[in-house]
């Protein structure tokens, strides 16, 4: 009963998540192909990196009337610098414009993201329904986890007389039953991890609010009552100070004062390590918006670290192209599990309706 209902309620949305998730596994490659992932020019020998202040000025000149929210350093393309502009510093994330700039020439390279992959992403993340849509999908993901666990319990009575890997093609129903069991059994750990990390990701905003209300509020206490900065400090100076605080790390992104990732008084420079794991574990350095001096630097709390580590485990983007292909195959296998489960339920219901009391020993739990 638990297995039937937890799956049925979530089936439609799980299919949506699996199907939109499939192209998203390859969003980098698809964006590159469609021209939404600009690449920096080949650096001339002896090229000198432009100052970040110059790139910031160029970005503002490119989008007149807007303000900078974030500047991000592409992890895979160190010469790609991505500037986020918006109508105001705390503007709607969907209204942000992302453009790439060449670190050596400060030339604009083109818009980042957008295009068809953005539609898939929105469908996958919140179905264009904002935070409520996101939390709803999180609940559907939670039902998916319940369905998996209850499936493990049912696996015993249903398959104890069958050897592992049995695939019969006696009828469509028996074939569906065998495929449902086999694919469900072999993908279970992956599906649990991708499902659970997906649920964790739906709570990102909630966790960020919690961090802002507790740790960040504590860090910016000395600034209580002060007006927000009028003239922002030089970005190059600010970044140099941040690098001094975390010398063995690189800058992931800088959040401008007033954006959701920092206080209204501070730049927050988020530093990252350089291994697959530490590159996800960001460390924020808070710097005074007017002077660029370091005010505080603390590791993120456990729940935000968990969120950051859970992201690669959901996206499958941390083991090269072969891992992405395996991710896609496991996703397709999960689609088959969900589809065959739905089919088995429909057939069973039809049988009940027509009062056909034919014995179906092979699909009944064995006692």
């Amino acid at each position: 009963m638990v297995h039937t209902w937890s799956s049925l309620i979530s089936t439609l949305f799980l299919l949506l998540l699996c199907i939109t998730g499939l192209p998203l596994i390859f969003h980098h490659e698809i964006d590159e192909l469609l021209g939404y992932d600009p690449k920096p020019e080949i650096a001339q020998p002896g090229a000198v990196k432009r100052s970040i202040d110059e790139i910031a000025r160029t970005a503002l000149a490119n989008d007149p009337g807007r303000v900078l929210q974030y500047i991000l350093w592409d992890k895979d393309e160190p010469n790609n610098i991505i500037a986020f502009t918006n109508s105001k510093v705390d503007g709607d994330p969907d209204a942000a414009t992302l453009r790439a700039y060449d670190a050596n020439t400060a030339k604009p390279l083109g818009p980042v993201g957008g295009g068809p992959m953005l539609i898939f992403l929105k469908l996958h993340v919140d179905m264009f329904a904002g935070q409520p849509g996101k939390l709803f999908l999180g609940a559907m993901g939670f039902l998916f986890l319940i369905a998996i666990v209850s499936g493990v319990v049912l696996y015993w009575p249903f398959t104890r007389r069958l050897s592992f890997g049995t695939l019969r093609d006696k009828s469509r129903r028996i074939a569906s039953f065998d495929w449902h069991n086999l694919l469900g059994a072999v993908t279970i750990a992956w599906a649990l991890v991708v499902g659970a990390t997906g649920v964790i990701n739906t709570l990102a905003e909630v966790m960020l609010s919690q961090w802002k209300a507790t740790e960040l509020a504590d860090m910016v206490k000395p600034y209580a009552g002060k007006p927000p900065p009028v003239h922002l400090a030089s970005l190059d100076k600010t970044l140099a100070n941040a690098r001094k605080t975390a010398p063995d790390m690189n800058v992931s992104f800088v959040a401008f004062p007033g954006t959701p990732f920092t206080s209204s008084h501070h730049f927050a420079v988020f530093m990252r390590g350089d291994t697959p794991l530490t590159s996800r574990l960001l460390k924020p350095v808070l710097l005074d918006g007017e002077t660029g001096e370091v005010s505080d630097a603390r590791d993120l709390p456990v729940y935000l670290k968990a969120l950051l580590v859970s992201q690669p485990l959901h996206f499958g983007d941390y083991g090269g192209m072969p891992l992405k292909i395996i991710w896609a195959l496991l996703d397709v296998m999960t689609i088959v599990v969900i589809g065959s489960g739905l089919y088995l339920w429909v057939v069973k219901r039809r049988k009940h309706r027509s009062h056909a009391i034919t014995a179906q020993p092979s699909l009944q739990p064995l006692r």
Partner: protein, 66 residues
Amino acid sequence: MTAAHNSRSSANWRTVYGGPLLLGVLSIAGLLSALLSAGPGRYFSWLALGAPVVLTAWFFARRKRT
């Protein structure tokens, strides 16, 4: 569990859950290995997470046709 009982009912937790459990442990190891080590960990993750796919293909190839 006696031998006589075993022969009468071939089902025990190992025959039912053994295969899936082994693949599950292998999958988790693969998911973590690529995260913890970029070189060998990555290669191991391809093998470990590819195992469910390969095994399914193998079961499909040698299924009994009726």
